[in-house]
């Protein structure tokens, strides 16, 4: 193990979701290219495990930590601990409810993204008809923000009627089964707006199986699978979080901070999401749109 090279710990929720995988890979690649060793760790949305990973990162004398955290409040203590140990943290994708603890919080603007998705959804729906909302894990902050974004926007269209909203815990199989059931209850729903892409995929599979392939499904994240689905014009649109960009920025700012002691940016930096739909899907490649 090289002693000279400094170590950057990259801690993400779960490698099973392509979104986080892309996030981790991007940060990893960037950090390496900037001449750092990396340590990629996974907390599976368990704040306790995350806390222990921080301990380990400290034990490994990491120079910096890039983190997609496991809870806006449950993470603060860990980040503080790292700071106390002289290790700066750079947060991506999810914020924490404290400032001045992390050096940078680079988040995609979930609320803005949600409104973006909702606008597109309303347009596709022709501003009228019954729809269903699939919510993410209800203990997850982003699930709440996105749901709020959807509802704030869609509630402005009187003819759009939300007939059901269920949590499918970010989970594909669960979304499938719940959609199956909901279809029976509301056979003539016109659209489904989903808190993330995995749930959107599950829901669409159920709709298609029920011969309702024409139902409008809109997701969130901009995962490759959904991009494919959009190309095959099944799922109509998704909101792309520029997560690759975020991760790279985080790595760059970490590098700069370690060299100069400052990032030159203010702590909270939010990057707007972009809509992916049949018009621009051609330019899509793994969580980024080529200009």
């Amino acid at each position: 193990l090289a002693q000279e090279k400094k170590l950057i710990a990259i801690i993400v929720p779960s490698p099973e979701n392509p979104f986080f995988k892309a996030e981790a890979d991007a940060a990893d690649a960037k950090a390496k290219s900037l001449g750092y060793d990396t340590l990629v760790l996974v907390h599976n949305d368990d704040p306790v495990k995350q806390d222990q990973l921080f301990d380990s990162a400290i034990a490994r004398k990491a120079a910096a930590i890039i983190l997609d955290n496991a809870g806006a409040d449950a993470t603060i203590a860990a980040v503080k601990k790292a700071k106390a140990a002289g290790i700066p943290s750079f947060l991506v994708d999810r914020e924490i409810n404290a400032t001045g603890v992390a050096v940078a919080q680079l988040v995609s603007n979930n609320y803005q993204g949600a409104t973006l998705g909702a606008e597109e959804f309303a347009k596709l729906m022709g501003e009228e008809g019954d729809y269903v909302e699939l919510i993410g894990k209800e203990t997850d902050t982003n699930a709440g923000i996105r749901s709020k974004g959807y509802n704030d926007t869609l509630s402005q269209y009187p003819k759009l009627k939300k007939v059901a909203s269920q949590s499918a815990n970010w989970n594909q199989a669960e979304a499938f089964q719940k959609m199956q059931t909901i279809i029976q209850q509301f056979p003539n729903i016109k659209g489904v707006i989903s808190g993330n892409d995995t749930m959107a995929l599950g829901a669409y599979a159920a709709l298609k199986a029920a011969g309702k392939g024409k139902v409008i499904v809109v997701g969130f994240d901009g995962s490759p699978d959904v991009a494919e689905s959009i190309k095959a014009n099944e799922i109509r649109a998704t909101v792309l979080q520029p997560v690759v960009r975020l991760s790279e920025l985080a790595a760059e700012q970490a590098d700069q901070y370690l060299k100069t002691g400052k990032t030159g940016q203010d702590e909270k930096q939010s990057i707007d999401c972009v809509l992916v739909n049949p018009d621009n899907v051609a330019k899509y490649s793994s969580f980024s749109l080529s200009e």
């Binding site: 099973e16 995988k21 199989a173 059931t181 029976q184 159920a206």
Partner: protein
Amino acid sequence: MPTSAATSTLPKASGLSLGVFLFRLRALIALMVLILIFAILSPSFFTRENLIILVGQTAINAIMAIGMTFVILTGGIDLSVGSTVGLAAMTSGLLINRGIPIPPLGVAIFFNIPAIIILVLCLGLLVGAFNGVLITRFNVAPFIATLGTLYVARGTAQLSNNGATFPNLVGKPELGNTGFPFLGDGSIVGIPIVIWIMVLFAAVAGFVAGKTAFGRQVYAVGGNERAAELSGIYVNRIKMAVYMICGMCAAMTGLITASQLVAAHPAVGESYELNAIAAVVLGGTSLAGGRGNIWGTIIGALVIGVLTNGLVLLGVQEFWKKVITGLVIILAVVLDQLQERLQQRLSLNRA
């Protein structure tokens, strides 16, 4: 004396078969009650469509639970079914999208869907055999052996595509491996394939457990392992067999979920084991082994299925779902116990 003994045993016997009947019936009662409640609370519950969906959803758990029943009848337990589901799903995805690559030639072998199904089921048998060997040859406690397999199988599933999903499992006509989704969304005479599979598995399993020598010996091993050994039953073979059956059933579930989602997600099946075991125990099979039957398990699975489906229809909030599910599981069993005691009380008063 002979006569007296005969008479004294006869009522016992009849009372017994009646008891067994009631025993099955009990889970059935819990089921009826649930159905009634939901039918009242939600108009769209007791519709043909929803019932079909409901049974279809139950099937996934039921098929696992059928395999689990054999294991539990021998007094064992299998915690690895959930991971096996994931592993099977990923394998089917791999075989459809990638085939089996042969590096030297730089080519990959692709199979048609029937072949793939068979291969995946064999994989399930293999996982079961792995558990079986640990338990019979190295006599590791089933709980710990299958717990280990739980981790290993899940890890392997995730490694199989480096954590990514195998998307869009429709196959390619030129590779002759199309038609996989049919397993999940196809239906025959208006009944989904999934349900047919469950019925088939249940029928075969019920027959095997109830009517064949193998079935009797499974009960024997669960009832008194040493006696089974001494009576000349190949206890280890029986145990191997039940874990392999269990693995195969889990693999079947894996195939179905992959086919329904038209994608193989490495996290599929996480914590399914608990639902499967719950179904078995709700169905009246004793974790100590030797007592229970497949029909009970099916009813147990239906109880869970109805509960899940109904709570979704009612739009019950996620957290309340958990609470209610837990309470229903407990209540169902408590009811059993109370009824059993009641029966004993009665038989005493008859004295």
